[in-house]
C-alpha cells in the first residue's frame, strides 16, 4: 500500500508548480490554469487524507471545491472575455494602468 506521505509530497509538488505558474507566467489563461492546478493539489491531498483517516469529511469537501472551482472558472473566463473585447490582450503586462 502506498503510504500517505507520498500523496502529500505529490500534492505539495503540484501545488508548488501551481504557485510557480501564477507568479512567473504572464498569460492570464495560463495563470488561471495554474490556480486550478493548485486547487486540484488540494483535492488530491484531501482525498488521500480522507482515505487514510477513514473519515468522509475530506471527500465531501472535495466535491464542494470542485463545484466552487467550476463557478470560479465561469466568472474568471467571463472577465477575461470582457477584457479582451476592450483591450485585445490576455497578458497581465499589458494591463498596468492602475498604479501609484
Amino acid at each position: 500500500m502506498i503510504p500517505l506521505s507520498w500523496y502529500m509530497v505529490l500534492a505539495t509538488i503540484l501545488f508548488s508548480i501551481g504557485i510557480y505558474g501564477v507568479l512567473v507566467r504572464r498569460n492570464i489563461i495560463i495563470m488561471f490554469l495554474s490556480i486550478e492546478l493548485m486547487l486540484n493539489a488540494v483535492n488530491l491531498n484531501l482525498v488521500a487524507m480522507s482515505h487514510y483517516l477513514d473519515s468522509l469529511r475530506g471527500q465531501s469537501f472535495t466535491f464542494f471545491i470542485i463545484t466552487v472551482a467550476a463557478a470560479e472558472a465561469a466568472i474568471g473566463l467571463g472577465l477575461v472575455i470582457v477584457l479582451f473585447r476592450n483591450k485585445k490582450t490576455v497578458y497581465v503586462d499589458h494591463i498596468n494602468e492602475l498604479k501609484g
Binding site: 500517505l4 502529500m8 500534492a11 501545488f15 501551481g18 501564477v22 492570464i28 495563470m31 488561471f32 490556480i35 493548485m38 486547487l39 493539489a41 488540494v42 491531498n45 484531501l46 487524507m49 483517516l53 473519515s55 469529511r57 475530506g58 465531501s60 469537501f61 464542494f64 471545491i65 466552487v68 463557478a71 470560479e72 466568472i75 474568471g76 472577465l79 477575461v80 470582457v82 477584457l83 476592450n86 483591450k87 497581465v92 494591463i95 494602468e97 492602475l98 498604479k99 501609484g100
Partner: protein, 479 residues
C-alpha cells in the same frame, strides 16, 4: 448502507435564506418592471432593515451539526455587514444613474455577497468558512467588473480575481493540512484534538496554520497581503469600493477571530506576536504609502490597510477586552469610512469622477456642508476626539497594552500620528485653497440619509460610546 437522515433545524439560518430569496426576487422584479428602477433599492432597504431587526431578536443556536453557529458574536458582525449593505444601497441610486449600471444584477449580487459573509461569520467548520468566503468573493469579483466598458474596472476585477483565487488556493491547502493532521475540519474539534494529541509544534500543522492565516489576511487586506487593495479600490465603481471597505473586511475579521480563538486557543502566545508583526506592517505600509497618493480612492485604500492593522491589535491579545475593542472598532470604521465615501460619491458627476485630491480645492467655500462632513469623517479616521475614531483606537491600544504588547502600542501610536498628515492635507485643500472650478452636487434623499446616519454615528459614538462598547462586550464568543 442506510444512513438515517434528519432535517437540521432551519430556524437559525432563516435570515440567510430570506436574503437568498430576496436576491432572486430582485432579478425577477428588474425583469418584470423595467421602468420602476427605484423599486429595487427600496426593496433592498426594507429587507435590510427587516433583517437587522430580525437578527436583534434571534436567539443563539447551533445547527447542521456544529457547522453553523448563531451566537451573539455572529449576530454582531452580521449587523455590521447588513449595515454596510444598507448604506451602500442608500448611496447607489444617484451613482448608478451617472455610471449607467444595470440595477437588477447590481443589487442581487450585493445581496448574494452578504449571504456569503453571513455564512462565513456563522461558520463553525472550515468547509462552511470556505463556501461562505467564495460566495462572497465571487459576487464581489462580478461587482467590481460591472462597468463592462471601463478599462479600469476590467483591470481591477481581473487583478482581484487572480489574486483572490490564488489566496483561496493557499487557504485551501492550509485547511487540507489542518484536516490531515487533526482528522477534522470542525473548529472546536481541531482545538480539542490538538490538546489531546499534543501536536501543536508539528511542522505540517504549523504550515497549515500559516497558510490559513495568510488566506484570511488577504481577505481583510492586511500587509504583506495587501497588494490588491489600492488597484481594486481605485478601479471599482465607488459605491462598490465603499461596500468592499466595510462589509467583507468585517466578515474577514469575524472569521479570523473565530478561527484563532476556537481552533487555536492554546497557542495564543505563539500567534499573538505573529499578528502583532502583521498589524505593525499594515500600519506602516498603509500610513506611509498613503502620503504619496494623489487619488482619494487610493488614499482611502491605503488608509483601509492601516485600519486593518489597528483592528488586528485587538485580535492579537486573545482576550475578551481585545475582542470587544476590535468589534466596536469595526463598527465605528463602518460609520466613518462609509461617510467619507458618501462625500466622494456626492461630488461625482457625469464624465468627471472627482477622485483627485486637487479636485477638492476650495470645497468649503462653495459647499460648506459637504466640506464640514468630510472634515468630521477625516478627523474620525485620524482618531481625533471627540469623534468615534478616537474611542475605537483608544480601546484597541488599551487592550493591547493590558496584554503586554508595549512596543506594538508605541509604534501604533507613531504610525497613527503619521496618518494625520495625509488626512489633514485633504482638509487643507478643502478649507485653505481657492476653487478652480464650480462644484455640482446632487443631494438625493438616499445620499442625505447616508450622510446623516454616518455623521450621527461618528459623533454619537464619540460622545456616548457606552452603548456600543457594552453591546460588543456582551457579544463575545463564549469560551
Amino acid at each position: 448502507m442506510n444512513i438515517p437522515f434528519t432535517l437540521p433545524a432551519l430556524g437559525p439560518i432563516m435570515p440567510e435564506m430570506l436574503l437568498v430569496c430576496m436576491a432572486i426576487i430582485l432579478v425577477a422584479v428588474d425583469l418584470l418592471f423595467p421602468r420602476k428602477k427605484e423599486l429595487l433599492s427600496q426593496l433592498v432597504v426594507l429587507t435590510t432593515i427587516g433583517l437587522i431587526v430580525m437578527l436583534f431578536k434571534q436567539t443563539p443556536a447551533v445547527t447542521f451539526g456544529t457547522m453553523f453557529i448563531v451566537d451573539p458574536y455572529a449576530i454582531f458582525f452580521k449587523i455590521i455587514c447588513l449595515f454596510g449593505l444598507l448604506m451602500t444601497t442608500l448611496l447607489s441610486g444617484q451613482y448608478l444613474k451617472i455610471e449607467k449600471i444595470n440595477q437588477g444584477e447590481y443589487y442581487s449580487l450585493m445581496l448574494f455577497s452578504v449571504v456569503g459573509m453571513m455564512t462565513m461569520i456563522s461558520a463553525g467548520d472550515l468547509i462552511v468558512v470556505y463556501l461562505g468566503l467564495e460566495l462572497m468573493a465571487l459576487s464581489i469579483y462580478c461587482l467590481v467588473g460591472l462597468l463592462k466598458n471601463d478599462w479600469r474596472a476590467n483591470e481591477a476585477s481581473l487583478k482581484y480575481f487572480l489574486m483572490g483565487a490564488f489566496s483561496s488556493a493557499l487557504l485551501l491547502f492550509g485547511i487540507s493540512l489542518l484536516y490531515g493532521m487533526t482528522g477534522t475540519t470542525d473548529l472546536a474539534g481541531i482545538a480539542q484534538y490538538c490538546l489531546e494529541a499534543d501536536i501543536l509544534t508539528n511542522p505540517a500543522l504549523l504550515t497549515g496554520f500559516a497558510l490559513v492565516l495568510s488566506g484570511f489576511c488577504f481577505k481583510v487586506g492586511a500587509a504583506p497581503f495587501h497588494f490588491w487593495t489600492p488597484d481594486i479600490y481605485h478601479g471599482a465603481p465607488t459605491t462598490i469600493t465603499s461596500f468592499m471597505s466595510v462589509a467583507p473586511k468585517a466578515a474577514g475579521f469575524a472569521v479570523l477571530g473565530r478561527f484563532l480563538i476556537m481552533a487555536f486557543p492554546e497557542s495564543q502566545d505563539q500567534w499573538g506576536p505573529i499578528i502583532a508583526i502583521i498589524a505593525l506592517l499594515s500600519m506602516a505600509v498603509g500610513n506611509i504609502i498613503a502620503i504619496s497618493q494623489q487619488n482619494v480612492k487610493r488614499m482611502l485604500a491605503y488608509s483601509s490597510i492601516a485600519h486593518a492593522g489597528y483592528a488586528l491589535l485587538g485580535l492579537l491579545t486573545g482576550t475578551s477586552d481585545g475582542y470587544s475593542a476590535t468589534m466596536s472598532y469595526l463598527y465605528i470604521y463602518a460609520f466613518m469610512n462609509m461617510g467619507a465615501f458618501a462625500v466622494v460619491i456626492l461630488l461625482c458627476t457625469k464624465g468627471h469622477r472627482r477622485e483627485s485630491l486637487t479636485d477638492y480645492k476650495g470645497l468649503a467655500k462653495s459647499n460648506p456642508g459637504a466640506a464640514l462632513l468630510m472634515l468630521i469623517f477625516l478627523f474620525s479616521l485620524t482618531g481625533i476626539p471627540p469623534t468615534a475614531g478616537f474611542i475605537g483606537k483608544f480601546y484597541l491600544l488599551k487592550a493591547a497594552l493590558a496584554a503586554g504588547y508595549t512596543w506594538t502600542v508605541i509604534l501604533a501610536v507613531i504610525f497613527s500620528a503619521i496618518s494625520a498628515y495625509f488626512y489633514l492635507r485633504l482638509i487643507r485643500y478643502m478649507y485653505m485653497e481657492e476653487a478652480p472650478q464650480q462644484f455640482v452636487t446632487h443631494y438625493s434623499p438616499g445620499i442625505i440619509a447616508a450622510l446623516a446616519i454616518s455623521a450621527i454615528g461618528v459623533i454619537g459614538i464619540g460622545i456616548f460610546p457606552g452603548t456600543l462598547l457594552n453591546w460588543a462586550a456582551r457579544s463575545l464568543i463564549v469560551f
